[in-house]
Symmetry: C3
Subunit: 280 residues, 3 copies
């Protein structure tokens, strides 16, 4: 039985940590296959990881096990948990890192991973990725049922949603991610294009039954840092090369970009900074 | 049927993009195996990717599918294409990124990937890697024939070759890559060692039937940036530790290096800068 | 027959080098599976790689082949070697990079890889990772016996151990690694916690039969750079967020860390710097 384990950590790729976790898993489940989602979450940035995981997990096949280790509380009393949602299973510390992935799920079962027989025989106080979480993922891949790991959890830690408020024609959000290209990704995720000329405010992502309210996109105005951007484009090349633009990115969130350039460097914004949209 | 898919992008490894593409491919072709060639192509640098791909692809086994996504024109009218060359298949935007890999091939078939049934059901305007190119690679791995994707392409975009001119005993080229060690790789690719004391100018790489013209290597002089280097060495340790040297690198191109040091930092050169060789 | 090959290099992940090595190995052994331990060893830093490998290899399953290419002497007379230790096999240049992994092994067989039939047909002078070491790892994965590669080696290059001296209640070591989080890892590896209140000096790691000498940890004092740290903690969260602390890390070495912060940036220390412990 071959199993897919997708990894997300803040470990970076310069140390041996990720490789060692994979070695541990292969010792328990030799047929494991690994996909690295990212190991470049900012150190201890649980919220950034939660946002990245929510955008990534839906694209993986049913049966995927997600091993998510962003764990500022390692060695303290925070619980290791296993969450089963439909055909997906998540292994993570109970610090809110699963909050956004689980947000829209109807049926979630969560268990605390207390069973010492499903850890390495020696558990360090600083590397539970190796000693607790990786073994759990590998045992799950071997077919061990989640409820074998420990008691159910009814009160997982949940993070507040990123700021996102709509008041009349005024929308307020925040920067939630800056990607490798310098694209500035915001929490304004409910604006969806329906035609090149119009975008639509819908109450939540994926809810096709919502009442749409069409907005003429060219009249929107986006403010981030010192910059004000007129209109919302359809793709990068709608703006001249090197110009700032606003658009709806590939995960459905408003992004600020520079056509073939780096918007974050231009705007000097950081994660958490305020972004506003005025719908003219 | 297990298939090998080798990836080259400018996505970096900090974001979820590469992992999501792999998740999408595994959903279509669960037996896919992935090798990352590199995801550190400079953003939108099609030419750098074209050069890297040409140096890498020959080392992969027959049957490998190359998924190459360096795509400054994403969302515009540029065509997604599939190129079949011998036992290799390439999936890429039609922007010249395959130019150098296809340069010496006798028999190339290229098709535009227009078939909407072989994409994700929703195609964003900014992430065709996920929505168009990754599904194409996975369907090819499943055995879908290239001509199922769309009509043949007879006029692919081709990049001009990097500058490389030989005029008598004077050779002019340019910097085409600076590697992780700071080795400065040039476009001067037709100089080949035959013995430790001699190098040979041959008309093209791999053409053993060419007329060789032996040149005494110690009398060659290489100029790059402010530096002038006497002689062409056989390997790094021919120069004292910390000294600049010129040599023929592992892909057959003239390189400027520092023995156990960083030549690019020493020379202050950039991609595109002129390099000259005087054969004394 | 499926084989696991774990890779450690100083090649970085920006160039095609690692991908090309994997392509070469798959051409020889199509069932090879790869785990990247790290490719971020500092260029030519054999000692850092030796330390990282010693901490990593024990976590991999029996039968793993380790391909270790940190090779400042590439192209010179240094020998390529294959070392068999128990169920593990190592392929590396003979420059000491295996020293710490082999240090405690009872029974090591080492062979020089001179057999030209087990290399690529053309061997460059600068990329033996591709032309010599990767083919060797793949042939080993195919079941070729180590002694087929060449003659036995009885005098491998061995690095001196990192500084680590205990004189009465005074312990002197050095910084051997700074990790992605800025944790400063020292060579002081023989201090082991037995209870939260006590730590123990034991003669060597893993030697449970050693005479333990319990030390009250709170009275220990650690000096590194300009900083003096009182006490040795059990885990990161024993110190207030943002405070410096000393603790025993996940591989059994004394580390200096900042709870949810970067100790290396705070202390301004480098690999090789002196660290002292005074047991009060």
């Amino acid at each position: 039985m071959e199993s897919l384990i997708a990894l997300m950590t803040d470990f970076g790729v310069a140390d041996i940590y990720v490789g060692v976790m994979k070695g541990v898993m292969l010792g328990i489940h030799p047929q494991a296959r690994f996909i690295d989602i990212t190991h470049a979450i900012q150190p201890q940035n649980v919220r950034q990881a939660a946002f990245a995981l929510a955008n990534a997990y839906r694209y993986f096949p049913a049966g995927t096990i997600f091993l998510v280790v962003v764990d500022p509380g390692v060695g303290s009393a925070r619980r290791p948990i296993i969450a089963r949602v439909g055909d997906f299973t998540f292994v993570a510390p109970d610090n809110g890192v699963l909050s956004y992935a689980l947000r829209d799920a109807d049926d979630v079962q969560i268990y605390e991973a207390t069973n010492e027989g499903l850890r390495l025989s020696q558990v360090s106080s600083t590397f539970h990725g190796r000693d607790v979480f990786a073994p759990a993922a590998a045992h799950l891949a071997n077919g061990v049922a989640p409820d074998t790991f420990g008691p159910p959890v009814s009160d997982p830690v949940l993070l507040p949603a990123p700021e996102f408020n709509i008041s009349g024609r005024h929308v307020v959000g925040e920067v939630v991610h800056i990607d490798h290209f310098g694209n500035v990704v915001t929490s304004i995720g409910y604006l969806r294009w329906v035609t090149p000329e119009r975008l639509t405010l819908i109450p939540r992502i994926g809810d096709d039954s919502a009442t749409h309210r069409p907005i003429p996109a060219p009249s929107a105005s986006v403010t981030a840092g010192q910059a004000q951007i007129a209109g919302i484009c359809h793709n990068y090349s709608d703006a001249p090369r090197g110009d700032l633009l606003a658009m709806v990115g590939s995960n459905g969130y408003l992004e600020i970009a520079v056509n073939q350039g780096n918007a974050a460097a231009r705007l000097d914004v950081s994660i958490g900074d305020r972004v506003e949209v005025e719908i003219g």
